[in-house]
């Protein structure tokens, strides 16, 4: 959908004088944001590798916030401050919401949509707590360097 922009470099040459300048999406950041807001998580990550502008926009937490709550009614405003304190929406999405949603999606219970996000939030909070332990303690309390309470959400890797 968004591959139709052309590079200005290619416009040099005789053709340039005959045609109007083509539409270049990077000149219209508001439209770009509108488009990126509607992408799914994987496409958003891919979009972040296109160019520096796209990368900056894709890092914006509000895009990931839309992803987290895409299937549910908008949450109360207090949720945002909590999520930002615990690590941000991008981390919440990639670490918790996406694996939770894909696993629960197999069972396909529509009534669970809102609870999925709540459960993801709780797991996210436990994960944040474990990360606190790794960085703050003097090393004797937490024996692992990386938090692993979310490991059970990861797909086993077939080597």
């Amino acid at each position: 959908m968004v591959e139709n922009h052309s590079r200005e470099d290619h416009e040099t040459g005789g053709e340039n004088k005959e045609k109007r300048p083509k539409f270049f999406i990077n000149d219209h950041v508001d439209i770009l944001i509108e488009i990126l807001e509607r992408l799914d998580g994987r496409s958003l990550c891919v979009a972040a590798s296109v160019c520096r502008l796209w990368c900056t926009i894709a890092r914006n937490d509000s895009l990931w916030e839309n992803l987290c709550f895409s299937h549910v009614s908008p949450p109360p405003s207090s949720v945002r401050s909590v999520v930002l304190a615990l690590g941000g929406y991008k981390r919440l999405y990639t670490g918790c919401v996406r694996p939770v949603r894909s696993r629960l999606g197999r069972v396909r219970r529509a009534s669970w949509a809102g609870d999925e996000v709540q459960l993801s939030l709780s797991l996210f909070c436990v994960d944040y707590y474990e990360r606190l332990g790794g960085s703050n303690s003097n090393g004797r309390l937490v024996e692992k360097s990386s938090p692993s309470s979310l490991m059970f959400l990861c797909k086993p890797v077939n080597v």
């Binding site: 109360p76 207090s78 949720v79 401050s81 909590v82 304190a85 615990l86 694996p99 939770v100 696993r103 629960l104 197999r106 069972v107 009534s111 669970w112 609870d115 999925e116 459960l119 939030l121 709780s122 797991l123 909070c125 436990v126 944040y128 707590y129 474990e130 606190l132 332990g133 703050n136 303690s137 004797r140 309390l141 937490v142 024996e143 692993s148 309470s149 490991m151 059970f152 959400l153 797909k155 086993p156």
Partner: protein, 538 residues
């Protein structure tokens, strides 16, 4: 009784533990299995095991490659499904399974085990050469395969191991220690014929160790329970990661506490076993987001004193405080160091009469049960001062097992069944080193149940029915856990990649089990007001 079962129906379970019913090893008179014939399938009874194994492999293959599966569905070629064995084989070749890697652990040296092998096979299987070939092929599956194949010989050895374990326990109970000792030697010899990496072999190994410790070291059994607090915390943490039992306990208790605290602005949680405090971040976050804003949360954590002068309770408290600060919840922590729960006195908790109190006990109450039922046993003392605190809610999570019977053999049998089920469920976990350390955690419990007595035996698990009677008699009434807790527990289980866990609701209490054997039960209680006591106490 409500039931949510996340298992997918498969043709029999895999490992040779007691909880699974093995497919028939003694063939009936006719060659075609009668029951399946009634359903329209022609399967030779002698081939039942192979067909079951291949069905399991087919299911794995289907699960692993959903793309192929949809192709298969669109190319609708029927391969005479009534001849089940051929049908499964043809489907398996469609999936083009890679040849399994050879694993030498399964292949038994025929020279040493001549007698065992021959007797098992001639008794069970009429088509001996064919069976031998098939089983060797199946033995070569890689150890990583979740649905580990159990051979006829192994299963036979497994059953013999179990019988010998029971006999040995009986000898120990009756005091015939010489026979028990020789049985231990025999069992350790038999262990070499059985796969000890998973299934019945692994569990049997732990029970043999515990029995020999009981026989040779007497019943003080100090080394089993003598792990340092630090070690215990690490093992507990890995047990938390590897399987859902503790997560289920925490999330269910938190949900009940959250609902009980509704409308209160000053709340106080008393945790009977703080460990790393992994239960509380989720509650803090839920309180932060509750409509109406978070209350003032006080947490009192009880735990063993740290040996080397560092205050581990305080460190956990600081960590929780930092989390609470990040999410804007007013938080205060207090640590109470006590090596035994009965040493804690209510004044140490400093409960404010105006605050709503929640008491949280995750697998702690059973430690207070002494062997003699005296009037002032620790459990009665503790329950009465809990009641004196007048908590809004007391969440109790306990192992659903009967490991406190006075007779040793009964206890042993129960424990064998319970822990083989638990080890079965742990097979599904693939995360290392969590799995290995979780197994050590369970192993220590086994050791305590089997080889310790008197005050050293602290793992005195009792089933939910007994706890119900005990708590009702102590002046508590049960609170129903509610549909939110059930929904959350079901979701949590679905997240675990193993499909064998099930949540059941039982008169307002939730229990989590493996293939419908409950292993851990969560319940919530409230103190009955004192003036009701003379009417409701038994």
């Amino acid at each position: 009784m409500l039931r949510y079962d996340s298992t997918s129906s498969s043709a029999g379970s895999s490992s040779g533990s007691l909880s699974s019913s093995s497919s028939s090893s003694k063939p009936p008179q006719q060659d075609i299995d009668g029951l399946l014939a009634g359903a329209g399938y022609k399967v030779r009874s002698s081939e039942l095991r192979q067909v079951a194994q291949r069905l399991e492999r087919l299911e794995t293959a289907m699960g692993n490659s959903p793309a192929d599966f949809s192709q298969l569905a669109s190319d609708a070629i029927l391969y005479n499904p009534s001849d089940l064995a051929c049908w499964v084989d043809s489907l398996l070749t469609e999936f083009a399974e890679p040849p399994p890697t050879c694993s030498s652990d399964f292949i038994v040296d025929p020279v040493n085990n001549q007698t065992v092998v021959n007797s098992a096979w001639t008794a069970a299987e009429p088509h001996t050469p064919q069976v031998h070939q098939n089983i060797t092929y199946d033995e070569q599956q890689s150890l990583d395969n979740q649905l580990t194949v159990v051979t006829a010989m192994e299963e036979d050895s497994g059953i013999r191991l179990v019988h010998m374990l029971m006999t040995c326990a009986e000898c120990v109970q009756s005091g015939d220690l010489s026979l028990a000792t020789s049985l231990i030697d025999d069992m350790q010899g038999l262990l070499t014929h059985v796969n000890t990496v998973c299934g019945i072999g692994k569990v049997a190994g732990h029970f043999i160790d515990a029995l020999s410790r009981r026989i040779f070291q007497g019943m003080g059994g100090g080394s089993v329970n003598g792990g340092s607090a630090f070690e215990n915390e690490i093992l507990y943490h890995h047990f938390y990661e590897a399987c859902p039992y503790l997560k289920f306990a925490h999330f269910t208790a938190n949900q009940a506490i959250l609902e009980a605290f509704d409308g209160h602005d000053c709340v106080h949680v008393v945790d009977f076993n703080l460990m790393h405090g992994l239960q509380w971040p989720a509650l803090i976050q839920a309180l932060a987001l509750r409509p109406g804003g978070p209350p003032l949360l006080r947490l009192t954590g009880i735990g063993p004193p740290s040996p080397d002068g560092r205050d581990s309770l305080r460190e956990i408290g600081l960590r929780l405080a930092e989390l609470a600060r990040s999410v804007n919840v007013r938080f205060a922590f207090r640590g109470v160091a006590a090596s035994r729960l009965e040493d804690v006195k209510p004044w140490m908790l400093q409960v404010n009469p105006k605050e709503a109190v929640a008491v949280n006990s995750i697998m702690q109450l059973h430690r207070l049960l002494g062997c003699e039922q005296t009037r002032d046993s620790p459990i009665d003392t503790v329950l009465s001062w809990i009641r004196g605190l007048n908590p809004k809610i007391m969440t109790v999570v306990e192992q659903e097992a009967n490991h406190n019977q006075p007779g040793f053999l009964d206890r042993f049998t129960e424990a064998l069944y319970y822990y083989s089920t638990m080890f079965d469920s742990l097979e599904a976990c693939r995360i290392q080193p969590e799995k290995a350390l979780a197994e050590i955690y369970i192993q220590r419990e086994i050791g305590n149940v089997v080889s310790c007595e008197g005050s050293a035996r602290v793992e005195r698990h009792e089933p939910l029915a007994k706890w119900r009677r005990r708590l009702s008699g102590a002046g508590f009434r049960a609170l129903r856990l509610g549909s939110n807790a059930f929904k959350q527990a079901s979701m949590l289980l679905t997240l675990f990649s193993a499909e064998g866990y099930s949540v059941e609701e039982n008169e307002g209490c939730l229990s989590l089990g493996w293939h419908s054997s409950p292993l851990i039960a969560a319940s919530a209680w409230q103190a009955v007001p004192a003036w009701d006591n003379h009417m409701s106490s038994s």
